[in-house]
């Protein structure tokens, strides 16, 4: 069964705007990972945040984690047309273990 739910399911923005998507999960976790998928291809790993971390940055990406609310958010700043993709969160209950995926957010960045 799906661990997480993502919100929104779809997002359409103009180039240069910020995109924010949220992920909720149900059980305790060891870490949460965000992935990008372009047009049904393989998953590209974006960022991993551990359960004892609250915020991480990587380039134009900012991820937050609130374990008390069992939720995470991914912010893409100054979006580009190339950011158009589906974004998935995935949780792991133990380091190096299997992932449970959220439903995904489809992001469209219009030039």
């Amino acid at each position: 069964s799906q661990q997480g739910e993502e919100d929104p399911q779809a997002l359409s923005i103009q180039e240069g705007e910020n995109a924010t998507m949220n992920c909720s999960y149900k059980t305790s976790i060891n870490n949460l990972q965000w992935y990008r998928q372009n047009s049904g291809r393989g998953l590209v790993h974006l960022i991993l945040i551990r359960s004892n971390e609250r915020e991480k940055h990587s380039g134009r990406l900012r991820v937050t984690l609130d374990t008390s609310k069992k939720s995470s958010s991914l912010l893409i700043t100054a979006s580009r047309a190339a950011d158009t993709a589906s974004y998935f969160c995935a949780t792991s209950q133990a380091a190096g273990n299997k992932l449970t995926f959220g439903g995904g957010t489809r992001v469209l960045v219009k030039p």
Binding site: G42, A90, G96, K98, L99
Partner: protein, 114 residues
């Protein structure tokens, strides 16, 4: 980071036949997994591929339908048996080591069953 390749990248198969998908990792990984992504959906874990022993299947997936092998630390196969159109999906393998939490994915195998 691990680089993972899969073969074939895509295939079109007839109902009732079987297809074996190969997954190769460029470095030794402790854990390897197989996921399915049905059209327009998210990823669902099929099983954990265990080296030298039977895979560990998730609820709803059985060995007779999805036999998995992992003869060594860098290679695994997934067979989709007696296929039906409902098996049309993208199948992805992934891997990571226990010392590295990041899980890397292969490019996926896009399967269409007619």
């Amino acid at each position: 980071s691990a680089v993972i390749s899969q073969k074939p990248s895509r295939d079109i198969c007839q109902r009732g036949t079987s297809l074996t998908i190969q997954c190769q990792v460029d470095s030794q990984v402790t854990m390897m997994f197989w996921y399915r992504q049905q059209p327009g959906q998210s990823l669902t874990l099929i099983a954990t591929a265990n080296q030298g022993s039977e895979a560990t299947y998730e609820s709803g997936f059985v060995i007779d339908k999805f036999p998995i092998s992992r003869p060594n630390l860098t290679f695994s196969t997934l067979t989709v048996s007696n296929m039906s159109p409902e098996d049309s999906s993208i199948y992805l393998c992934s891997g990571n080591s226990r010392s590295q939490e990041t899980q890397y994915f292969g490019p996926g195998t896009r399967l269409l069953v007619l």
